[in-house]
């Protein structure tokens, strides 16, 4: 393949997915305010204006970031100043790195070269995501430890206990997906979900693994550390791990939370909702099971798929917001009970039953 084209494609794909995550993350700060307002019969933030223009409070995103950057960056009296500065960077970095293996489209052909719409098409995609999730705990642990504050240390201990507990459930839940699709590559998993079950039902992961989807979503929300699982932070009464952070360092932690939310939405989409797949849309256009086809050019098909991926991710971000503004917070023992005594056994049962069914069908 042409080297220039290859480099250009890699840079383009990386920019696309990074900008997608960052801009959607910024948008989510606005969505969080406006959605909660609508759910509670309020108007929500609408005062920021440029030249008298308010556009439903969208300028609050700019106002917030300007505020964050302008605030005093107070560093506590700690012997670990470098680690204190590094912790928020790590949190955001590993959250963003996971997006490298998320496929946001199938492939496009430029000048005879096939370019897969995924930054890093590795055959260990699932493991890569897990690795990044696990390493993300470091940002939080280091933040709590380097703050030289017992309360933030306790907060980070709560956070790491929670994240490690729920990572086990996330891993066990995906064993079912692994057994069905028999691959670790996310692109291949999405491609396998393009088929039809019984001739009309899209073979999405949620239909093959309904319990798996439910468990993954629950554990995933717990992994993002947001209400009802926001024990590490507990902004309304207990003290969280970033109590000693101010200015944009705090902003990065907050932003990492939103990016984590988008990541969970992307993973749910990829594993259980067919990723970029549009039902009945094949490479040549729509082919409905009841007959009838709509032929389309490759570019239209590909853009439809990317739009479908973005739409599904947006929906799951909305759903997580809805859950976050509906449920009260769990107590810490309830949280641990849910993780170890409910989610883990259920995901084990799910894996065993899936294995038996896969074996039975295979024979």
């Amino acid at each position: 393949m042409n080297l220039g084209l290859e480099i250009g494609a890699a840079v383009g794909k990386t920019l696309f997915i990074i900008l997608f995550a960052l801009s959607l993350g910024g948008l989510l700060t606005w969505v969080e305010r406006k959605q909660s307002a609508l759910m509670q019969d309020r108007i929500g933030a609408n005062r920021a204006s440029i030249l008298g223009l308010r556009v439903w409070g969208l300028f609050h995103i700019i106002a917030d970031s300007v505020k964050m950057f302008m605030k005093e960056d107070f560093v506590p009296n700690t012997p670990h100043r470098i680690i204190h500065g590094l912790a928020p960077v790590l949190s955001l970095f590993f959250a963003l790195l996971s997006f490298a293996v998320i496929p946001f489209g199938n492939a496009i052909t430029i000048a005879g070269h096939r370019i897969g719409l995924q930054v890093l098409d590795v055959n260990i995609g699932i493991l890569f995501v897990f690795a990044m999730m696990s390493v993300a705990v470091y940002g939080i642990v280091l933040a709590g430890w380097s703050s030289n504050n017992n309360f933030s240390l306790l907060g980070s201990i709560r956070a790491s206990a929670q994240m490690i507990s729920y990572e086990v459930s996330i891993g066990m839940t995906l064993v079912g997906i692994l057994l069905i699709f028999q691959t670790l590559s996310l692109q291949e998993i999405v491609q396998a979900q393009g088929g039809l079950l019984f001739g009309f039902l899209p073979a999405w992961g949620v239909i093959l693994q309904p319990l798996g989807f439910f468990l993954f979503l629950t554990a995933g929300i717990a992994e993002t550390k947001r209400i009802p699982f926001d024990m590490p932070e507990g902004e309304s009464e207990i003290i969280g791990f970033f109590v000693e952070y101010s200015s944009m360092k705090f902003g990065m932690f907050m932003f990492a939370e939103f990016v984590g939310q988008i990541l969970i939405a992307s993973l749910v989409t990829t594993f259980f909702f067919g990723g970029w797949q549009v039902p009945y849309l094949a490479d040549a256009g729509f082919a409905f099971p009841w007959g009838g086809t709509i032929p389309m050019s490759a570019w239209v098909v590909e853009s439809l798929r990317v739009i479908s991926f973005i739409g599904k991710v947006a929906f799951f971000c909305w759903l997580q917001m809805l859950i976050r503004w509906t449920l009260p917070r769990f107590r810490f023992d309830q949280l641990m009970n849910l993780g170890w005594k409910v989610l883990l056994p259920l995901s084990l049962v799910n894996a065993v039953v899936t294995a038996i069914v896969v074996l039975w069908i295979g024979q």
Binding site: Q35, A37, L38, M39, Q40, D41, R42, I43, F214, L322, I323, W325, T326, L327
Partner: protein
Amino acid sequence: MGRVNVINVSERRRELTFLERIYVVEVVRGLAITAGHFFRNLIRHTLRLFGIKTAEPAATFQYPEVRRPAAPRLRSLHRLARHPDGTPRCVACMMCETVCPAFCIFIKAEEVDDPNIEKRPKSFDIDIGRCVFCGFCVEACPEDAIRMDTGITEIGSLSRTGMVLDINMLLSLPPKEERGDKPVDFLQKRLVDYNLVPEIQAKT
């Protein structure tokens, strides 16, 4: 006598059913309620954007522009009423100063030649910073001179002395009905701007 409906709270406590205990169904029911509000308000906001009249999508008031309707008997900032000829109604009887539980009214009386009133206030200061808005002064007043019907509730100043209203200011404040409902103007004005009457016109 009507029958009083008493609810024994301890009797309402009951064992949760199995469906309630596994929590999932209840979560979905909760999500249905909040999602219902979300979509209902979203549709209403969208329809209003296109100029179609709908029910109110928000229970809140857009505060500085839109005021919550106040009850007619709301106790707001004080004013001193005048006679139709412009003279103050107050006769400096000291009733309000005596009854005030916050000791925020300070009256200095002076003599006047008019045999009907004999006394009038030389100065009449209210320290709004100490006032508790109990309305006792209004009830105590035999001349119906001090009233709390201006409708002004945004009272603020950058200093403590700025919170002390003198007699000129109190006499110049109009009742809510005369002021009309121009809230934005009102917010941007300071209390000092209401100091319109240069001095009390003594009745000779």
